[in-house]
């Protein structure tokens, strides 16, 4: 899942250019702040690389990445190599 925070987004649309798979699209109507928000148009294309999360200047995009995404079978589901310090 990809979440876009409407309070933080300023509408620069850099996520549309930086996404390698063209997941996002621009909505036609502006919200109450006058911002044409991006929305997730093709979610099945998303590979969860996380570039849009880093490149968003306003911390508005959140990609729900499973911490053990690189383990194919779920035999070691309790194994967390502590890739991120949270």
């Amino acid at each position: 899942m990809i979440y876009i925070d409407e309070d933080y987004c300023k509408g620069c649309h850099i996520c549309l250019y930086m996404c390698y798979k063209n997941v996002y699209a621009i909505s036609k109507e502006a919200n109450k702040k006058g911002v044409q928000l991006p929305y997730v148009n093709f979610e099945d294309r998303c590979t969860k690389c996380g570039v849009c999360e880093i490149v968003c200047p306003d911390q508005a995009i959140t990609v729900d990445i499973d911490p053990n995404w690189w383990i194919e079978n779920n035999e070691y589901e309790n194994f967390n190599p502590n890739m991120t310090m949270q």
Binding site: D7, Y8, H13, I14, V51, V55, Q59, T62, T84, M85
Partner: protein, 285 residues
């Protein structure tokens, strides 16, 4: 319902959303620094951030760690004092191009010459953004600004090569369109014992873009990506073909004796292992 953002735990949430303009690259570089810090497995409590004056120097105000907002151009001097008095800290300096190249140019050269263990992230947006769009030392030849209505004729500063020549152990240049390389470079710079310099060419749609017919943030990001050439490819290109291009890559990656280690050795040799000032974390001060 929605999951909180990955970088919100590191930021002062009561100050968000930040005051950077629409499409400014400073927010992306703040995210890239936090992601690189996670990858390098640094202790977030042990990091001190130092900044000078400018748009990019507002970044430490949004990060939830110890920070020092110093005078214009003297961020590296303050950071040197902080690092020498307390060598256990991981000092990170955020500067802009006006702060780092024009008024603080000598501080930059001599910090690189001493090879003190600092991490400097220079956000280069090719213009003085905060004061109204004047031409800076890193503006490309032929670009327009408030003080150059017919286009500037000066040659720009090449900061990453300058620092590599001055004796830094790590020096790299990337743009905001190569954000994954920025994260990897910041990770290497944080781990490197010695002076490490990462120059990130950023977009400024409000002033640089308005004067140079690149009004939208997307147009500026496309221009950065199209105009950048990798260093290994640029070695075989003629100087005429390289005009107006941004050479990206790593310019130095070596190892050398470090400044605070040298001071430690001198103190050990001259005063028999008894330092005048110990670390600030020790209680016996």
């Amino acid at each position: 319902m929605s999951k909180p953002n990955r970088f919100i735990p590191y930021l002062r949430e009561d100050r968000l959303p930040h005051i950077f303009c629409l499409g400014c690259g400073n927010g992306s570089i703040m995210n890239a620094f936090l992601a690189g810090m996670e990858k390098a497995e640094m202790d977030f409590e042990n990091i001190a951030m130092v900044s000078g004056i400018g748009c990019s120097s507002r970044i430490p105000g949004y990060v939830k760690c110890d920070s020092l907002h110093s005078t214009h151009g003297r961020a590296l001097s303050f950071a040197t004092g902080l690092k020498v008095s307390n060598p256990d800290l991981d000092v990170v300096v955020f500067t802009g191009d006006g702060d780092c190249a024009s008024i603080g140019g000598n501080h930059l050269i001599h910090a690189a010459r001493r090879n003190i263990n600092l991490t400097v992230i220079c956000i280069n947006n090719n213009i003085y953004g905060m004061t109204g769009g004047q031409i800076s030392p890193t503006s490309p030849k032929g670009s327009f600004g408030t003080t150059a209505p017919y286009g500037t004729e000066d040659n720009p500063f090449n900061l990453a090569e300058l620092v590599a020549t001055a004796g830094a152990t790590y020096s790299a240049r990337w743009t905001t369109s190569h954000i994954e390389n920025v994260v990897t470079s910041i990770k290497t710079a944080l781990k490197n014992p010695g002076f490490s310099f990462v120059e990130v060419v950023s977009q400024c749609p409000t002033y640089y873009g308005r004067k140079n017919k690149l009004r939208t943030p997307t147009a500026m990001a496309v221009t950065l990506k199209v105009n950048s050439v990798l260093k290994s490819k640029a070695q075989n290109m003629s100087p005429k073909a390289l005009e107006g291009k941004i050479v990206v890559g790593e310019f130095a990656n070596k190892s050398k004796a470090e400044f605070t280690d040298n001071i430690e050795k001198l103190v050990q040799a001259k005063s028999g292992g008894k330092k005048v000032i110990n670390s600030a974390f020790e209680a016996e001060l």
